[in-house]
Symmetry: D2
Subunit: 461 residues, 4 copies
């Protein structure tokens, strides 16, 4: 409220109280001012009341909320349902213009500010989580896979003759489909086993480039976060190769923001070689609903080029979720949420299983399922279904030697990231594991009937 | 947001858009300014976004929402549940101080403003609905009956020797109990039948005053809104009597705000005689949840005296509901909600029943139930239960000659407001009636078995 | 949703997923079933989603939300503003009937359930916080003071000849007013100083009873929670006296639920003597908005009698707040919130002040302000204003020898609970104190000018 | 709640009331049952309470809301901010799987149901608004332009050798960019002027197909809704041509759902020729926030193919908005929102201007701005800025002969859909026009200074 309103209030309520109220309002405004001035994630969390105050202020600036709006001839920004209007804080216009998803809209100063500030705050988070030299980024209301597709489509305009994308294998469907959707042919590089770890086969990468010709590659498409025993790609070496052969390099950093190791790999890759863009999901990295991603990079012009490829205005919903979340957490709160690694006990060994040694994978762990080995795959499937009915999410059982065909390409040993694996594995995220399945020792009956496999879930810290 | 914040916004979004946004904000502020300046119900409805903006601004002024609040030693204004905080817009302090329910609280400039403005806006509504000379009022989070009790308790301090309250009979329990709860002895004046109408027996009133002595009466307790065939009390004549005998006069105006006739009666009563306070319910008059009332009067000092009788701080919830409702309706919207009288068709007669002629009752109508007359009361009870199971609310069946004892006092013919009535009646509110029960003509079977009474509900306009 | 709907869902989504969803729904229902079955505060907290599910279910049972509601002739339960409807979860009917604030309403099965369950859960909390033998209670949407008034008004019907209420002095306005509002004459018993503590003067109590006659006392009105150096009344001895003289006994337990000592005193008093009802505030005890209280007692009939004194239906808002809060905390969460006593450091002494020794007061502490002693009262006032502008709530400065007249009665030494105190004191709640004011040692300048008093707030743990 | 819970309730509240409540619950359930059974937009609107009940039920079925969820190793469906969780009704999982945006998710039966039902209800709406034979559709959380891109990318897999997209010119940036983003070369067909109308140049279309070879065209990309004087493309003739030459046909139906004429054109096109998919925006057609589209078609397999091209899971936010909106409107409410055409008065002529005669454009109208003709373009620009500052949205001024370059392609006469236009025009939507700008007659001063152009906005009905 402006000063005139405060003066009027003093006629109703003693002026010393009103002045204290005015001072309190200024404390909220001070936070908003700092946010706009610095464009950074605030150190300390904001209260929900400050967040709502801010969003209401933004909404008031959008034309659909103008009190004098005569709305000639348009349904622009009109919303039929009050439930819908409220759940979006009356920010209805989406983000971007037909020309550019990161651009400002004439009719929607508030929504435009929301978009700009969110991108700016997210850039700050990318920096303090490890990619210090990132120069530009934007939030896009599409899945990570579709966002990768948009990057590939943008590159096509720069390399109209390219047909292939070089891709070290990672067994996750949408990564693979992102290339096919963009109309390119993935050149799959199988990983090599080093100890327990599956790592990037750099020799094979270089061989393929020479075999097919660097100019025929749209880009290298590498990956950081993945399920063990695969580990993040050798980003530094790949980036150097890309620079050497003048091939663009797009990194799928899916859930990598939670790991300082993944972020460090990107920072290093860009320093010593070439990374054109890296893409990360919003949901797990920021704990928001599914459906958004961040496209980021080191060359502002290239990132701008990508944002200009999106034809039309886009949903502001993921941007709004990220902004609310970061303001209510603050930078300090966000950092606390980042993966706290937990030492897994010797639990596996006590039960005759082995934790695979994958030190390069900062996110996920894998355990052997040897005791199930001699038995048919049905036992493994049963374990999977037990996880499901016990409502255990975030862990999965990978049976030995499954073949899967994705959009015409057949992957042997699907979900183990390699075609030559030797046993079933139990795969789970490192950071919040609290239960692992343990086969009961007295499983003689097991030999007789698969349906008596007994599994307990033992709590570990 | 202040001008500095707008300047910062201009660095992110083109300044012409920001300036338009600023202008839009001013449009909301202008409405708030007018409200504070005039203290009146705005002519036009406010949008929900303006209402929420205003409430958020108020909340920010309360000390529980101070960002720098160190909260020494107190749970003052701390709320455990986020659900609870949000549903009260974080206005937690209630209204009033221990000394006065209408007073300003040091810790809560926002809640205090809410309280002041609500009372001021409600006063405006009382004026434009007909009691033009009302000088003071306040919202109290208690039922109408309990609010009447508070009025009586206040009067006791002025008339310490009084024992009786003179009360023209109205068959509604809480009115009667309000006097008993305050510790007084009601002197019940039975109504007289004039035509179909039950009206105040003024001769009896005067006779009782003389019999028991004016100085022994705490007050006259009259009623406006009531079910037909009772009609509003003869307020003018009662007010003149009160002035003449120097007896205070408290009017139960329960749902009378919906009727210009009731409001006019109060205005006239105060003009020609004496009315000390009139009390009305919040729920039906303002279409808000049950549980609040307005105590109003013509002598500011006396109303202040009542507000000072409430020991402690009170719930702000009813005040908040009324304020939100009046702002989102506007004066014009409120006026539209006021009772539109509907001409009831000749329906009753077509079915051999009679609509009682009660022109002085602006709110409620009554219809005979002659066809049920000759049968036992069970038929009437059955009709009542049919209304209930058909989810017909707002109408009731009054069986002939029911006796009911309320707090020790026995009322003959309860709910018909008189002890000598001749038939069952069907009683309903005038304004929104859309169905009335009609006995089927071919009800021969009825004579045989009560359980075959056939009733249809016929739509009327 | 019922089983038919789940079957239909299985046509759209795989039935194993739907069955898992159904099982998940049952987990919520199980919690609701237990609540209804046991009528107790659940041990563990409910998620907000369970709470909202439950409230929505209740709302659906109220007639204003009936889809087929034809609403004949009534505005019953109609709410004009969507904002208002939503903030009350569409529970609009309030609680109670005109006959009884704790009764069931025909039109509102959901609101009635809300009312019953809230009272039942609150009774459970009263028991586990220490008053194990409490037999009945109800939530009333009125301040503690007004609730005490209602108790006194109820007693009047039992003791029509009584004029006095015997009241050991406690310097809090609304306690005192609660008796005046009910129309009685407080007989003030000054406290006696024992060491640093102000305690009940039992001899004087007994003397007064004999002087004025037990039959002329409506009741004894004692107090538990209070600011130091006053300590809770000697409840056991008072209860024995009441039993001996056949005088009712009403206890003001304002904020006493936070202290097991206060609750224990009530339990003991009722065991060895007579306590008719005890009244506590909702706000600080349950961390909900201001404006409700609980009236509880050991004789179900008497508590029922009080609930029947409230004329009319009452606001459900405080009941709703309490229920939401207790469900989202759970019994365990509630217990954790209970006062954790903190040992106050030797801070006071380091600054030449003394912490008063008041071991019988479990809630509040007092510190001398000797250094301000020799100076005028203005210095004390200045300290108070510093607390205010620093947004320190929950602490207060009590200047020496202030006189205050409350409703005609003059209290010497107001706010110190005694008329003969010797110095200014600084008074604060025990439990959450984190800052206390400390006068700077080098306060020579102070002697010259009051306006240079320097005070720092030193953090204590 | 299940029957056991209702039984328990009967112990607290009279069983007849509880049974009425149970019956009321069934009324809500009946609506939900019908929705799931029929998969159609309900005829009558649902109350907000039914909608919220339904959404809460869906949310309970998602694994993130399972009370027993042990959440092993994952942040799956965990949301950091309560504000965010609530605004999505705790439906967090998005829609689809990595394999298919329309597929069911194992962990999220509720979100999956939401997705299925939304698509089913939207299909029903497409049918009753005119495209009776549409067989399949899905909501996608992307702009119309990006959704068109997805269609083109899908077609690429069917026609790997194609390079061109045949596109009758429409001056809207994102339509044009949708083809470039997908990596294709638009072949622009200039429109022909027939009377005042700009219509599809069929001869030129056929000529181009023959010139470049049908097999080299990915598809024809036609448009329905557009600004006058352009009118919807000749869909029937184009569809016949596509069938004849075996070229796919994608229709941009942007805002065409509001016009029965546009929908009829699509229905006819598919009947007599070939339409592979048609894409429409969510925002204006359903009055929801910007950022979603519907992709629909007549061959279920092809639509499924498109949905499988989206790599990853997508935001459920637009689906949720559409579902809430359609349920709260009902089919009848939706139909009422559909364009009510208003006869524009002879206003234009009274002011010396002419309304262009464009009977084939059901959505938009254009008016000449002859009086500005003789003056410089600055006058037109000024008029545009006046519209802006008067907060008139939905209308625009098109200056004569503006050239604009979009992604390298230069359009002469941009925004007039043709390169040879003769005058400035004022362009606005038909349906909700309420003000048009009118030049004052006494505009002599205008000749002297452009800055004194006087324009009034005259209300028309």
């Amino acid at each position: 409220m402006n000063s005139e309103i405060f003066s009027l209030s003093e006629r109703l309520v003693s002026s010393s109280y009103v002045r204290q109220g005015l001072q309190a309002r200024r404390a909220h405004e001070q936070l908003i001012r700092l946010l706009l001035q610095q464009g950074k994630c605030p150190e300390e969390e904001w209260s929900e009341s400050t967040v709502e105050l801010f969003l209401n202020e933004l909404a008031v600036m959008d034309s659909n909320n103008f009190l004098g709006n005569c709305g000639v001839g348009e349904r622009e920004g009109r919303v039929a349902s009050g439930l819908v209007a409220r759940r979006h804080y009356r920010l209805i216009h989406g983000i971007g213009r037909s020309g550019d998803i990161a651009a400002v809209q004439p009719k929607a100063a508030g929504s435009s500010l929301l978009n700009k500030i969110t991108n700016s705050v997210v850039l700050d988070v990318l920096r303090f989580t490890g990619v210090r030299s990132v120069s530009s980024c934007f939030v896009v209301p599409m899945a990570t896979g579709m966002s990768l597709t948009l990057c590939f489509l943008t590159l096509r305009h720069r390399r109209p003759g390219a047909r292939f994308i070089l891709w070290p294998r990672i067994d996750q469907k949408s990564c693979f489909k992102s290339m096919l959707t963009a109309g390119f042919e993935p050149v799959v590089i199988e990983n090599v086993l080093e100890g327990d770890e599956l790592r990037t086969n750099l020799e094979e990468v270089e061989r393929k480039i020479e075999e097919l010709g660097a100019e025929n590659f749209l880009c290298v498409h590498s990956t950081t976060s993945c399920f063990a025993p695969r580990v993040p790609d050798r980003l530094e070496e790949l980036a150097v190769l890309c620079a050497k052969h003048d091939i663009p390099h797009i990194v799928n950093n899916a859930y990598g923001m939670q790991s300082s190791k993944c972020m460090h790999l990107i920072q290093q890759g860009a320093r010593v070689g070439r990374i054109d863009a890296f893409v990360q999901s919003l949901d797990k990295n920021f704990m928001v609903p599914v459906g958004g991603a961040i496209i980021a990079g080191f060359d502002e012009n290239f990132i701008k080029e990508i944002s200009k490829m999106y034809p039309g205005r886009a949903s502001a919903s993921p941007s709004l979720d990220v902004l609310i979340t970061l303001l209510t957490l603050g930078a300090n709160g966000y950092k606390k949420l980042l993966a706290e690694r937990k030492e897994l006990s010797a639990l596996a060994e006590r039960h005759g299983e082995r934790l695979l040694h994958t030190p390069h994978n900062p996110i996920s762990l894998a355990m052997s399922l040897n005791r199930l080995q001699t038995h048919s795959t049905a036992a493994v499937t049963q374990l999977g279904s037990m996880l499901f009915t016990r409502q255990v999410s975030g862990a999965r059982v990978v049976p030995l030697g499954v073949e899967q065909t994705v959009s015409g390409h057949t992957f042997r040993g699907f979900m183990s990231h390699a075609c030559y694996f030797l046993g079933h594995i139990f795969n789970f995220k490192r950071q919040t594991i609290s239960y692992i399945p343990v086969l009961l020792s007295g499983d003689d009956s097991f030999r007789d009937s698969l349906y008596t496999v007994k599994i307990i879930f033992q709590k570990c810290k």
